[in-house]
């Protein structure tokens, strides 16, 4: 096994995801030998839940008593904004990370973008790993170890019935083939046929970054959480033009229900309606528009690839039940029950997990 510390880093367009394996089986002997730097990093990460102004440890996601490379320990999940990368590298340099002679495995676009900074500012050589390899590997690994005795994967039963809709565990024991939809700032869609056999089917630039970016412009909000909070109080039907707004009810000739959105933001063509909507309505409409579009593209990909299980991951779905239910609903409704939307508890951390697993290979 490689020397501690064990990190996996995924530097995305908006967020940096960091997983940290905290060994819990450290012998007294090891404790004695553990250099001060390493100890201080371990203490710093495990004794805090927030780092700097925007770094957060998702305590609820922590995987306990995990066995990795014959070591037992806890896996911690930490995230912070990508624009804090320079501060992060600076901290690594201050804590003399480089003196630990460890390898730092990183994936995501930022592994390339910040490689030079890591080298010059932090005296650290990054081991860059392919982001899709890491993603697929992370998903399959976390699903296989489970979530502290619970299922990692879940779905929504009765997604088309608001009253009876509920979140239920899903057994992804035999996962192939599956369509993996990763919604970060943008969206990547992968068809996974086996552990080592997958392909990127397509992607779209209308992703989490689009939702958040448009919300900032439309509502003046400044955090993703704020945008989601606003969306949860809004009504998108004031903003969108529905089928029933045009046809008075269902459009039977095309089999379109009256509630379906005919034109996203379509009501905003009218000055009066622009003046009567709230910021919350606009945030909700943005969320619904982006989510439905992803659902639609995912559905078409699933049909083209002849796959009926679609797993949605990525940090867009963090604390975003509205989107998850909408995706579950849309997939079920438009495929007449043929397609199933699945979700994973560790949403956006799979790339970082894959990077950590890559580190363990290298030994």
């Amino acid at each position: 096994a490689p020397p501690f510390p064990w990190f996996g880093l995924d530097i995305g367009g908006t967020l940096v995801k960091l997983v940290y394996f905290e060994p819990k089986d450290i012998t007294a002997e090891e404790e004695e030998e553990e250099v001060e730097n390493l100890k201080s990093i371990r203490k710093y990460l495990t004794s805090n839940v927030a780092y700097g102004s925007a770094g957060v440890r998702d305590v609820h996601l922590e995987l306990k008593e995990l066995t990795l490379c014959a070591r037992k320990g806890n896996l911690h999940f930490i995230r912070f904004p990508t624009h804090d990368m320079p501060a992060f590298i600076h901290m690594g340099s201050e804590k003399h990370f480089s003196s630990l002679h460890t390898t730092l495995c990183a994936t995501g676009g930022g592994a390339y973008k910040f490689e030079q900074d890591f080298r010059t500012m932090g005296d650290l050589q990054l081991c860059k790993l392919d982001e899709l390899d890491c993603l697929v590997r992370g998903v399959l690994y976390i699903d296989s170890v489970g979530f502290n005795g619970h299922s990692e994967c879940y779905y929504f039963e009765n997604p088309t019935d608001a009253e009876r809709c509920q979140k239920l565990p899903f057994n992804l024991e035999n996962p192939y083939p599956l369509l993996l939809v990763n919604i970060g700032s943008g969206v990547s869609i992968l068809a996974v046929y086996s552990k080592d056999n997958y392909k990127r089917v397509t992607g779209t630039s209308l992703g989490g970054g689009t939702f958040f970016g448009l919300c900032c412009l439309l509502t003046g909000c400044s955090t993703f959480e704020e945008a989601l909070e606003m969306a949860s109080h809004g009504d998108s039907t004031k903003v969108d033009k529905l089928v029933r707004d045009i046809y008075g009810g269902d459009y039977e000739r095309f089999g379109l229900p009256g509630w379906a959105v005919a034109s996203s933001f379509g009501n905003m063509m009218s000055k009066e309606k622009r003046e009567s909507v709230s910021k919350e309505d606009l945030a909700r409409a943005t969320l619904v528009t982006i989510t439905n579009n992803i659902g639609s593209i995912a559905r078409m990909c699933a049909l083209n690839e002849n796959i009926n299980r679609v797993v949605f991951v990525g940090n867009f779905l963090r604390i975003n039940t509205i989107s998850m239910r909408l995706l579950a609903y849309a997939l079920d409704y438009w495929s007449k029950g043929q397609l199933k939307a699945l979700f994973l508890e560790h949403e956006g951390y799979f790339g970082a997990v894959g990077a950590l697993l890559g580190l363990l290979d290298s030994a």
């Binding site: 995305g12 367009g13 908006t14 995501g108 676009g109 930022g110 390339y112 973008k113 910040f114 490689e115 970060g184 700032s185 943008g186 397509t202 779209t204 630039s205 209308l206 992703g207 989490g208 970054g209 689009t210 958040f212 970016g213 448009l214 900032c216 412009l217 439309l218 003046g220 909000c221 400044s222 903003v239 969108d240 033009k241 045009i246 000739r253 095309f254 089999g255 379109l256 379906a260 959105v261 005919a262 034109s263 996203s264 933001f265 379509g266 009501n267 905003m268 063509m269 000055k271 622009r274 606009l282 528009t289 439905n292 579009n293 639609s296 593209i297 078409m300 990909c301 049909l303 083209n304």
Partner: protein, 700 residues
């Protein structure tokens, strides 16, 4: 003349309703049938009207006992004729009340009827001098995907003319661009949003692959300029973004999304052609470009994005089709009236503000009914690949400049001649000036936007001029000139025949070809070319020759007729095809009837050939100085087939050079013309007044 409208590029859209309604809803008084389609944001209407306009007719005098030396050959009269026209108009719903009021006041009665129409289809091309590549009407367009981008997006799979199915859609469409764009930029109008977008930089708002990967994206085989996340850079509350940049980013986002979904549907249904329509496209090169880019990107070039020049009328035409079936649509053909249709808009909206202002808000499309069905010449080698025009001026900037200048320089003369052709009409000079102004404006539009009316060719320039002349009641400015020249030439006919008959066989063959080429300018440098023809003439006679005649006067009487006579004497039957309607000094079918009658009176060979139906006169169905072999009168096509025609002779610059120079037939053909234009002669590698003599034999 762009400044004539006196409007600036900005803030003028609201005023476009001030365009006199009668210029938009043309000929409403005579509207017989009416269809309206009120969509989410645009209203489309279609009506059928009857148009009364002047036509020139010729009528033979009864010459018995008259002094043939001093009387004109025939009488020219101008009559009123009534023909049918289809009008299609689109406008933003904002104007609906004003428009409907106007219509109510002018409309007499309404009903719906069956109409069959086809529009020009084209594909958008990036990285090319031509931005649009037009397709001729392809016989095999099915199956295809029809993506209508209105407020939302509808995706329809079209398998045959009447078998189609709605297979999907998307809520992110034109309404999203408009609605979201209005919120983001406080700009209310769709056209203004597009204008903003065309000035913006989306890279200031979008997160690109290179923003995520830094400078190292090349190592991944990714293009750094790909958008990773639309609006991904606006995830901050403390930065201002320009309206232009946001509009551009929005345009890219929506176009890419629609293109991607369209490709996914095309793939699922195994289709490789996608037609785009709807107001989002509506002749907007900006959106056509982004959609085409998206289709190319997502399909990796496997799917073709196509647009209709008069897109957005599908619903209106469909509404007509759904009406009562009282007419048999197969009895007619329809041709676009270039004088009444508005053009496509420019990729750079500021270039020609007046034209933009007008067609941005109101778009007009008119089609005139041609009273006889038009079909392919049965002898065309491959009708699906036949393109009449020799040079695509949308493609060839140098040729375009040259020809536009040519037409500009000739315009004053044409207007003068038009006025002079009606000396008894008080308002002729005024109408001639209106004609001059209208055609001049069309030429200026074409300078800025060569694709405005479809593929730009010498033929379309000539045809547009004819349409504009007709528009102002100059049905046949050359009628008197032609009358005079026909009279003069007829007087020489007998002596020309006598001198030809006195020549030896081989000499006569040369002289006949020389006559066809209007002998006075013949350059014997072409001698070598005609050797092959001469050899052919020594062989067995042709079964039947089809001749497309060119000019009145010397050309038809002293050139074509002696040649016809020679063919007849070889035992070859002759079909002589002349234009149905007037164009320049070209001989019309009705003039040819009179001229032939007079020649027959002098020449027993012609007389007996007419009687025995070995010489047949037909009309082409065209009123153009050029020739489209895929749109010919059905009667001509039937006769060509019946008589087993095995030789086609096409003469004159318009028919043999501007068009059909490269036309491939599956029988022998002669293409002859004198290059009366030094620039063109230069281009073809010859001298002015040199001769094109193309004798072609199809490869077996």
């Amino acid at each position: 003349m762009a400044e004539r409208g006196g409007r600036g590029a900005h803030g003028s859209l609201d005023k476009s309703i001030t365009l006199p309604p009668h210029e938009i809803f043309r000929n409403l008084e005579n509207a017989k049938r009416f269809a309206i389609d009120i969509g989410g944001s645009l209203t489309k209407l279609a009506y059928y009207s009857t148009v009364q306009h002047k036509v020139a007719r010729v009528r033979s005098f009864d010459h018995s006992g008259k002094d043939l030396e001093h009387e004109p050959l025939y009488e020219i009269t101008v009559q009123e004729e009534i023909t049918a026209r289809l009008h299609f108009i689109k406008f933003e719903n904002t104007y609906i009340e004003t428009c409907l009021d106007f219509i109510k006041d002018h409309l007499v009665n309404t009903e719906t009827k069956v109409i069959k129409a086809t529009g020009g289809v084209f594909a958008y091309q990036k990285d090319s001098d031509t931005e649009f590549r037009f397709q001729t009407n392809h016989p095999n367009i099915f199956p295809y995907l029809l993506v209508n981008i209105g407020s939302g997006v509808s995706i329809v799979k079209v398998e045959t003319e009447d078998k189609f199915e709605w297979i999907g859609g998307s809520s992110i469409g034109g309404g999203t661009f408009w609605g979201l764009g209005a919120l983001l930029t406080k700009t209310k109008k769709f056209d203004e949003l597009l204008q903003l977008a065309s000035k913006g930089q989306h890279t200031n708002v979008d997160m690109l692959v290179k923003d995520v990967y830094g400078g190292a994206y090349q190592t991944l085989g990714l293009s750094g300029n790909l958008i990773a996340s639309s609006f991904g850079k606006s995830t901050t509350a403390d930065k201002e973004f320009s309206k232009e940049d946001m509009a551009k980013s929005l345009l890219h986002m929506i176009s890419n999304d629609i293109g991607q979904l369209a490709c996914l549907y095309a793939k699922l249904h195994n289709l490789d052609k996608i037609y785009f329509g709807g107001f989002f496209i509506r002749g907007h090169p900006v959106t056509m470009r982004t959609i085409t880019y998206s289709i190319n990107f997502f399909s990796k070039g496997e799917v073709q994005a196509l647009f209709l020049r008069h897109e957005g009328y599908l619903g209106a035409i469909g509404a007509f089709l759904k009406g009562a079936e009282q007419d048999n649509p197969n009895q007619y053909s329809w041709g676009e009236n270039y004088a009444g249709s508005s053009g496509l808009m420019s990729t750079s909206p500021d270039v020609f503000p007046m034209q933009r202002t007008r067609s941005g808000t109101f778009d007009m499309f008119e089609m005139d009914r041609l009273e006889r069905p038009l079909v392919n010449l049965p002898l065309l080698k491959d009708p699906s690949t036949y393109i009449p025009d020799t040079v695509d001026l949308t493609d060839d900037a140098m040729a375009r400049k040259y020809w536009l200048t040519c037409f500009e320089e000739a315009l004053d003369g044409v207007a003068k001649r038009a006025a002079a052709s009606q000396p008894d009409s008080v308002d002729a000079p005024e109408r001639a000036e209106k004609f001059r102004h209208k055609y001049w404006n069309k030429l200026q539009t074409l300078r800025q936007q060569p694709f405005a009316y479809g593929t730009l060719t010498v033929r379309s320039l000539l045809d547009t001029r004819e349409h504009c002349l007709n528009e102002f009641n100059f049905p046949d400015p050359y009628s008197k000139v032609k009358q005079k020249e026909n009279g003069i030439a007829l007087k020489c006919f007998q002596s020309v025949i006598e001198s030809l008959d006195s020549l030896g066989w081989e000499e006569r063959q040369f002289a006949l070809v020389k006559g066809l080429l209007a002998g006075n300018v013949f350059d014997w440098g072409a001698k070598a070319v005609s050797d092959q023809w001469l050899e052919r003439l020594k062989g067995p006679p042709h079964k039947c020759a089809l001749i497309f005649a060119d000019n009145s006067g010397i050309d038809i009487i002293l050139g074509v007729f002696p040649f016809v006579r020679e063919l007849l004497s070889r035992g070859t039957e002759v079909i002589l095809a002349c234009n149905s309607g007037p164009a320049l000094n070209d001989v019309t079918y009705s003039e040819s009837l009179i001229v032939t009658e007079r020649i027959a009176a002098m020449d027993p060979v012609i007389q007996s050939a007419l009687r025995e139906e070995k010489l047949m006169l037909v009309q082409t169905g065209s009123s153009s100085p050029c020739l489209d072999l895929s749109r010919l009168d059905k009667g001509l096509a039937v006769l060509v087939r019946e008589r087993a025609t095995d030789l086609v002779i096409i003469e004159g610059m318009g028919r043999a050079i501007h068009t059909n120079y490269y036309a491939a037939l599956n029988c022998e053909s002669l293409k002859l013309a004198v290059i009366k234009n030094s620039w063109l002669a230069d281009r073809l590698g010859g001298k002015i007044f040199s001769v094109i003599f193309k004798y072609e034999v199809p490869c077996k």
